[in-house]
């Protein structure tokens, strides 16, 4: 059993130099990526995607369709990886698991009264338990942003730790909803709380609030992971989600992960993209790189 931390073990978070972050992020976006590396990167992006549908209007049919897409991204083009996971609401976990389980694709479930997180702890625990019992390999929980902004860090910490406990063997991703945290200092603080409370992954956003996964925010979170790793030797995963809808931005993110965390994080064990429309854009880029012909979304299945 790993040593569990409590809120008093939390080091005080360093303040974030916003101007410095912006300059560093701008440099990640100016790397020249040649064709061969681009192709490799694009395929890596595909293998890191958590294909997501989190709508009130989700139906079993819609989930079934997305699960099929997850396993068959574009059969007309051979040797493509499948995505890492599908991400659904707890009520759809059972169904999703029955479809993608055989393909080695994980099922991630949001929980803890996603997306607001405005529910009592018992409800959040029951929500999580339900998802785990239905076969979720990964749990995406949201933190209580209201409590966090009110300065009740211990509450947020304990909540994450309690959810981690009911996750069992499922990996826990902690959604900070950075769009509501307003400053990079808050993002850093929330990242540290989540990591020390036992998160296996930290994740930027629910996808319901703008701005979502900006590179500045992701960079700040990666830096928190880096510092934790330097201190303890333990790896924590990262999942930017929301707003990463094109291949170029995804590649910029990979460059950033490589340069901040290193090669060990460049696989779907430690890095994920939460996205719904990213997969098709990456597919179009792969076909474009291969054929030299600009593609049309008409020729790719919906996800």
């Amino acid at each position: 059993m790993l040593k569990a931390y409590n809120i008093n073990d939390l080091p005080s978070s360093p303040s974030v130099d916003k101007v410095g972050v912006e300059e560093r992020v701008a440099r990640f976006q100016s790397r020249s990526i040649k064709n061969q590396a681009k192709m490799q990167g694009l395929k890596m992006v595909l293998s890191m995607i958590d294909l997501t549908t989190l709508e009130g209007k989700d139906t079993p049919g819609k989930v079934r369709q997305m699960c099929f897409k997850a396993a068959h991204l574009h059969d007309a083009y051979p040797n493509l990886p499948s995505v890492a996971a599908v991400c659904v609401y707890p009520s759809m976990v059972n169904l999703a698991k029955s479809i993608v389980g055989v393909h080695g694709i994980n099922v991630a479930s949001v929980s803890t009264a996603f997306p607001s997180g405005q529910a009592p702890l018992e409800v959040k625990l029951a929500d999580t338990k339900f998802a785990v019992e239905n076969g979720a390999d990964e749990i995406d929980m949201v933190i209580s942003r209201g409590k966090f902004l009110g300065g009740e860090y211990a509450f947020v910490f304990d909540e994450i730790a309690a959810i981690k406990e009911v996750c069992g063997r499922s990996r826990l991703k902690v959604i900070l909803e950075t769009g509501e945290l307003t400053t990079l200092d808050n993002v850093r603080k929330a990242s540290d709380i989540a990591i020390y409370a036992g998160a296996d992954f930290i994740k930027t956003s629910t996808g319901k609030i703008q701005p979502a996964a900006t590179m500045q925010v992701t960079y700040t979170m990666l830096q928190a992971i880096r510092d934790y790793y330097d201190e303890t030797g333990k790896m924590v995963g990262m999942k930017p989600a929301g707003g990463i809808s094109n291949a170029k931005l995804a590649l910029h993110n990979l460059v950033m992960v490589k340069e901040v965390l290193g090669q060990e994080w460049l696989n779907n064990e430690w890095f994920r993209f939460g996205a719904s429309s990213l997969a098709n854009d990456v597919l179009m880029q792969i076909l474009k790189t291969d054929s030299g012909v600009y593609q049309s979304s008409n020729y790719f299945t919906l996800d």
Binding site: G292, V293, Y294, Q295, S296, S297, N298, Y299
Partner: protein, 288 residues
Amino acid sequence: MSRLEVLKTYKIFIGGKFPRTESGRYYKAVNSKGVPVANICLSSRKDVRNAVQIARKAQGPWQERSAFNRGQILYRIAEILEGRSSQFVEELMLQDYSKINATKEVEAAIDRIVYYAGWCDKFNQVSSSVNPVSSSHFNFSTNEPVGLVGLLLPESSSLLTLVSYLMPIIAGGNSCVLIASERFPLTAITFAEVLNTSDVPGGVVNILTGAVAELWSPLSTHMDVNALSVDLKSPYLKDIQLAAVENLKRVMCMHSADEQGLVNITDFQELKTTWHPIENIGGASNSY
């Protein structure tokens, strides 16, 4: 002290904005005496890509506007052009037109826009049909725009040609990515300024300048372009037709800018036929 003349850089027109080419390359447009008249963007395939992406987004909403409203907007283009006619006359004269011919050309162009503005809410009535069929169906064929049309203007083209090619495309609810004449690009870009001030939604018309030899290929192979309008005398016509095969683009050629007519609109329309079941009472004659 003598004054250094400032040569205007004509920027391209994408999505209702005037960006410079992403390639950062330019060339000088010259008149017949070899005197430079303007700096022109030498667009790249990535400009084509950006323009197509934006034209695609703009097409749906443009098609969904009422035909009457499209007519109003086209008429507005004519109004604005009328107001700026002297600028066009000047620019045509930079390209070696005499004043009389330049004035005639601008007037003809305005008239042509008004002509197609009138067609907007009428062409569908004229070119649709109710078809006699031998089953209990009400069967009718009606027009739908093909979608996104790539337009490669003739090399010799000027204002009237541009208008004659472009107006029937957008009158029918298509969006357009237009490659201007390499030698005479001035009027195309100035015309973009007219479009931009005349209620045409951003992205419906996008205008690129540059080397046709470089731009025909990304445009005609692009899987998201539905049809192409090409000059019959274009040296690239055959290559374009071959490239268009991949997604079965329609390649249409207008014979001369002197033509105006319904066919130029329906060239970029798909005829959609609908079979609507009706009650057939006792084998009565077809009644609808």
